[in-house]
Chain length 396, copies 2
Amino acid sequence: MKILVLGYDGYIGYPLTLHLLRLGHEVYGVDNVSRRRRITKLKSDSLTPILSVVGRIEYLKSNYSNFVGQSTISLGNNPPMHIRGILNHFEPDAIVHLAEQPSAAWSMNNAYRAATTQHENVIGTLHLLWAMHRECSTAHLVKLGTMGEYGTPNCDIPEGRIPNWCLLHEDEPLQKPGDYQPCPMSGLLFPRTAGSFYHLSKVMDTLNIEFACRNWELYSTDIMQGVVFGLANPACQEELTRFDYDECFGTAINRFCTQAIINHPLTVYGEGNQTRGFLTLNDSIQCITIAIENPPLAGEYRTLNQFESVYSINRLALMVHEEADRLGLKTEPNHLTNPRKEAESHYYNPDHQELFDLGYVPTTNTSLEISKLIQKILPFKNRVNKEVIMPKVSWK
Amino acid sequence: MKILVLGYDGYIGYPLTLHLLRLGHEVYGVDNVSRRRRITKLKSDSLTPILSVVGRIEYLKSNYSNFVGQSTISLGNNPPMHIRGILNHFEPDAIVHLAEQPSAAWSMNNAYRAATTQHENVIGTLHLLWAMHRECSTAHLVKLGTMGEYGTPNCDIPEGRIPNWCLLHEDEPLQKPGDYQPCPMSGLLFPRTAGSFYHLSKVMDTLNIEFACRNWELYSTDIMQGVVFGLANPACQEELTRFDYDECFGTAINRFCTQAIINHPLTVYGEGNQTRGFLTLNDSIQCITIAIENPPLAGEYRTLNQFESVYSINRLALMVHEEADRLGLKTEPNHLTNPRKEAESHYYNPDHQELFDLGYVPTTNTSLEISKLIQKILPFKNRVNKEVIMPKVSWK
């Protein structure tokens, strides 16, 4: 299969590219390297020592004859003809779109960063959709969204659309508990309640992609991904992916494990009962590959909720504490004033059946994965910059 | 009251500005004049002979001492500091935001125009929200959205959010017809199903504004406006507003009436059973004024569905035909292949009670309004450019 990977230099993009190359697919990569630039500007760096951009290109070209090329265009900031030219030239069967500004905290920092996030993400995806419409409307768009698009509504979260039958779980169900009633809104997109300008940009992408499927008969898998953690299985040092732990580009488990290796308190925001879906980086790569191999029908807009299991932040901090303790590392959870405006205790019950139906076999032992991660990053403990760990951006 | 009118040079903006000035409010106007530029580029022009930009500024300054100033900044294309400076300087009590690219057809023309529409509208509103957050978080944002954000779902359309009680209008209601059932999604934003990249930009604005109210405790009235038609009541020639009839910037009734005065067939797209909410320009000005005078609470995101009554396009074409006939003008409805992808026969039952509760007294005789409009624009029949009437942009 010919697969275009947008954002191939990123945390997920690089190991996904390697995985697809090992499976024998032809891969063309696009990345504007904005993640590297922004991490440097925050005075942070990948905890893992990764190859330079040029080093990676040379490595991929030397070791994988099916890595057919790369480009550093920016989807949102370059004219739409640039991505259109790549589609015309490469004629992909599938397009994996990971090329977005991925940090919620960064988007909440100031007006410029909020606007940059929404411009790059929304206009970037819009340029891509127009290019697909004109050049390769039969390609499958696999787009990375986030579970954060839904927010934390006080009801069950379906996969993308309001289901045909709507569970009544109010105090006084009409007949007996668990009754289902027909919902007049069934089939409409389930309402999103995003909690940052970044998360909103992903909802906006959802709206544009769903419309492009409805109006132009493109087809797409829109992945609502949980929080990813861990490292993939690199064949050698050159295949290591980046690993961020700073306030903006790091995420909960990765940041906790980094804190554990330097005996820093685990920074839990607020009460810590915030509950989210999580999955390992290997699982994320597995799921994206499953989506590529099982495309939806022409004109179909399919949503997959992509995570293994839900955990509260407190539970995760405790797991990191326990696994670190077993490895002789001393660290304790420390509750900070929450810089974000979010529910710190809430109902959370998202559906995620569809990927399992397609064959997803998850990594279920999260404690073990946390232990393995701590051991993998321990050799890099001297690379940690303590200055970038604590939250500085107030969302309020 | 100190009122900032963004888009004060437009079809609604100019007569609204005059109305607010006559009521004694202090008004500051912002307009980047993009509508005039784009109409010229389409080789069209306002059917009504309007003052130049400079002419209007001179007229307003000479005749209304409470017109305190104006600026030609672009909300989306200038840095966010520009609008922030205006808010800091003027300190408005209310901000009426009409400064957006308003044409669905224009947004569907090509990738550049789609991206320009979403960039200008979404980033423009985002810059405004940040500026309000920093400079005047106690001002009331009155934002013009569109009923087109909802699209045409096969269920009742509430005002903004999913109601506490959800009407079951399926074939088999649980107990008796008209039964209401508690909805677990109540309070979430009602799902939007927009039909163009322009309409999607308005949904994106809705998402950003609702979040700004939730996160920063700004407060806003988001107006889901129906299709506006007619001319306001200018005190003199200098107070005439623009009147567009071209494929992109003209809307159904205004275009039909323009066709009537030159004996052109009335261009009905497809079957013509598309049903929408409509209101006169005078009613739109009345409703926006009511919203300004009755602000919501701090932190509240309020949605008003703003229209007088719903009509099918066929019904409107028939009304224009009949009124034109009475005035001795010969014209017939003519069904064209629909350039848009839309349901041509559908259920449509949007709620619009809230404005009536606030005191909206609508102009109810639509036939009479159509007749008056035809008579008002008849003197300008020689200004019509027939070349711009027929649809050229395919949405598919």
